[in-house]
Symmetry: C2
Subunit: 486 residues, 2 copies
């Protein structure tokens, strides 16, 4: 039963490490359905906390939740030309239902712009009905040939926000606002600092005017797109006759945005903070923040230790700390330590008869700085008083470490494709260069280096010396960031 085998080290095979840790930390499992995964309770608990954090931020910015149908008529998906071109290869199609062949096939939503616009067109009459700010928590299906747990599966869970505005400016502003909400969430909850910026034309969402993205740097120095926010202009409004009467009494098409993040975030979390012992979950997202492992040799001790453990749990619970006591009697303490380290619980308290005598606990941090001890013997009262602050400090230190790692693996002032290729081949990272805006250059870089244009970074990420040369030669019109990506 005990699973003490070491994980493949990250520097030996990052991809093997990732798969192992996801499975053995019981975040997820393969399912018998090709391309679909099962999210196990520990992984789903993290997702629930992510949902709570995001949902709060959405509501604080004026959004309400709603629910739209899973099945969309094929003809809806086909209306917006770029949209169907982008999604057609990934559609799962229902052709039979209720024992009969359907007159029109239905697709399982790969995203819901079309069905939602159809409904919005019915609900919106006037500028007074705007802005309309709605979010949906849902599952979507995009058929995938090469899948990877959490990162790319045929079915995944996500949220998709869909808004309508009276002006282009307001919709654009909202697109950027939601990008900011994602960034805030990733930094404050996930301790994962994303790079934010605009996608190039070739990488934007099928049907969007502009797509913004959060790009996070994983420990293998590959980029992972972890969230997107799209300005849709009037592209979908036109196809679904979503019009409104302006204040001046004119009929105009609505201006739309859509934005989403998915269970991919759980994979991002693993690849941002995990180490060779397992996952590391930031306290704000940890289903269990403190695990208490009671230790005893005989029944008398068991009684006393258990009751002390329960008392500690209650006291910490009163302070809002999520605590679990691991009372399984068929596992040794050592085996329990391995398991909770692998699952990434931030703090472990070990509690034995000697600790009771000394009114102390043994506190072990999941990770710590180089000049710290992971293990401390603390007076019980001190531990109780300090744990909430220690969890906050743990959260902050994870963000700090991840930010330092991103900066250490960002390269500025790179001027030609050869240099970029060298960086990619010696490990990768975020590489900042100039770009003319020519898609042919983008294509060439990709062919020669396997790096793709991750984004045109937002102002605060740009180099203080703006590059003047395009990486493909000639003059630069803007600065961009390249990396190999998942």
């Amino acid at each position: 039963m005990a699973d003490n085998k070491k994980l493949t080290p990250r520097d030996e095979d990052f991809s093997a490490w990732y798969n192992e840790v996801v499975l053995r930390a019981e975040l997820a499992d393969y399912s018998p359905v090709r391309g679909s995964m099962v999210i196990r309770p520990w992984g789903y608990g993290i997702w629930e906390n992510m949902q709570r954090g995001l949902d709060g931020l959405f509501k604080d910015t004026g959004h309400e939740n709603a629910y739209f149908p899973l099945l969309i008529p094929m003809s809806f998906i086909e209306r917006e030309k770029a949209h169907i071109e982008g999604f057609k290869p990934e559609l799962a199609v229902v052709t039979h239902a209720g024992g009969k062949e359907l007159e029109e096939p239905l697709v399982i939503r790969p995203t819901s712009e079309t069905i939602i616009m159809e409904m919005y067109a019915k609900w919106i009459q006037s500028y007074r009905d705007l802005p309309l700010l709605i979010n949906q928590w849902a599952n979507v299906v995009r058929w995938e040939m090469r899948t990877k747990l959490f990162l790319r599966t045929s079915e995944f869970l996500w949220q998709e926000g869909h808004t309508v505005h009276a002006t282009s400016e307001e919709a654009e502003e909202h697109t950027r606002r939601m990008l900011g909400v994602y960034r805030t969430f990733m930094e404050d909850w996930m301790a994962m600092p994303p790079l934010t910026g605009l996608k190039s034309e070739s990488e934007k969402f099928a049907g969007a005017v502009q797509s913004y993205a959060c790009e996070a740097l994983m420990q293998d120095n590959k980029a992972l797109q972890v969230g997107t926010s799209h300005f849709l202009g009037q592209n979908f409004s036109r196809q679904f006759s979503l019009t409104f009467q302006t204040e001046e009494g004119k009929e105009e098409y609505g201006w739309n945005t859509s934005w989403g993040v998915s269970t991919r975030l759980v994979g991002a979390l693993v690849m941002t903070h995990g180490d060779d012992n397992g996952v590391v979950v930031p306290p704000r997202l940890a289903p269990t923040q403190v695990v208490i492992v009671p230790i005893w040799r005989n029944d008398d001790q068991a009684e006393a230790v258990r009751s002390k453990a329960a008392a500690l749990k209650a006291r910490l619970g009163e302070q809002g700390v999520r605590v679990r006591i691991d009372e399984r009697d068929y596992l040794s303490p050592g085996n329990k330590f391995y398991e909770w380290e692998r699952k990434g619980v931030p703090i472990r308290l070990e509690l034995g008869p000697k600790d009771l005598e000394n009114e102390q606990v043994v506190l072990v941090k999941r990770v710590c700085g180089e000049d710290e001890d992971r293990k401390e013997f603390l007076p019980e009262a001190q531990a109780l008083a300090e744990i909430p602050d220690r969890l906050e400090a743990f959260q902050a230190s994870l963000l700090e470490a991840a930010t330092a790692r991103r900066e250490a693996n960002s390269y500025r002032g790179v001027e030609d494709i050869g240099q970029l290729k060298e960086i990619m081949e010696s490990g990768g990272g975020f590489v900042y260069t100039g770009w003319s805006g020519d898609p042919e250059v983008e294509e060439r870089v990709k062919e020669e280096t396997k790096a793709t244009l991750r984004c045109i970074p937002d102002e605060e990420f740009r180099s203080s010396d703006a590059p003047t040369k395009c990486i493909g030669g000639g003059e630069a019109k803007m600065e961009v960031v390249w990396d190999r990506a998942y």
Copy 2:
């Protein structure tokens, strides 16, 4: 824009009233996808609160959440014979995906016993892994020919709990425990008192050994099955090789339960508490518990009234009350009153310049007892102090009224089919009779009266004088409850 038209009264056409109120309270809307509905923010907000209540009760009873695939191989569904017989006519089938025809068709889950058992078989080795208590929040699809908003749609949202136990007794006990959890939720959160009991063989879940149900009596005196809890025995374990090693070292099949409630509960809520003015939402489930309608004639007044409204909202918010201020300037106060009454907000506060002068508010209850006034003028401080208690009293009074209505429409001591038919034809209700257990009688009652056997009621609902005669003639073996049902 204003929607002041009266609803069709319930006693004129209950079904028309129901559809109108669901649409015009903006709980839900028809979608262009046959059989699927859209849950609008007000309806979804109620569902979110239901989820919160249920999820807390599930976690308090030791369950964790997880997520299993939407798409299930056809061969899985076919393994359990009764299961496929029951669900075959309702399946939606994916035959094509990723641009190709699939080798094996996939069905959209109508329920997830099969795929979940397949995974459990992989996870469970020993009695030490038991009980396994997992719940899933998900969408399911059961193709329906005759749909009704919330009550019967091809796609609906629900939770499905799936547990594994080491013994038959423990699984049976858990089946009943979860029935109790549902009853608690319905009474304490929904203010809807269900009748609980065992389903007859002909009405049980496809694949179950025994099904228990919560049956609620709607205002038209028809029964609505609002939750079910199934003891599955080893039926699914056998088909999916879900075995475990017992403490004695033997190999045994696991014992399963499954249980679910769905967005149908929102429909049940409407038909339990709604009146001719609209929906009535119990405070614990109301997305907005108190709506403040500020009233003014000129800009000076507007300023003062608005700032007072904001202060009231803040003060109530501190006490945990969910408050919304309706500041829309293009609707008259009267139109706002109609709208929030239709949506069922428990308490409305009207606030005008005169009220500010007198340091008072006008408090209007959505519904009240016969000897009460709906509208009261209250000193502001008193209103602030009393509103939390008033919301609780409102919640309690709804449960009381619904319980009294159920009792007033329950008929005991009925001895023959003719009498039952008479009750059904003069309005219906819960009719308690004796039954021999003969399914032929069940069938005959249905044909002659259109009433179905709702359940064999739990002990506490049984008549103090146990019926001795079966309604179909001969001796009674048990007491049962009949009604026409949705």
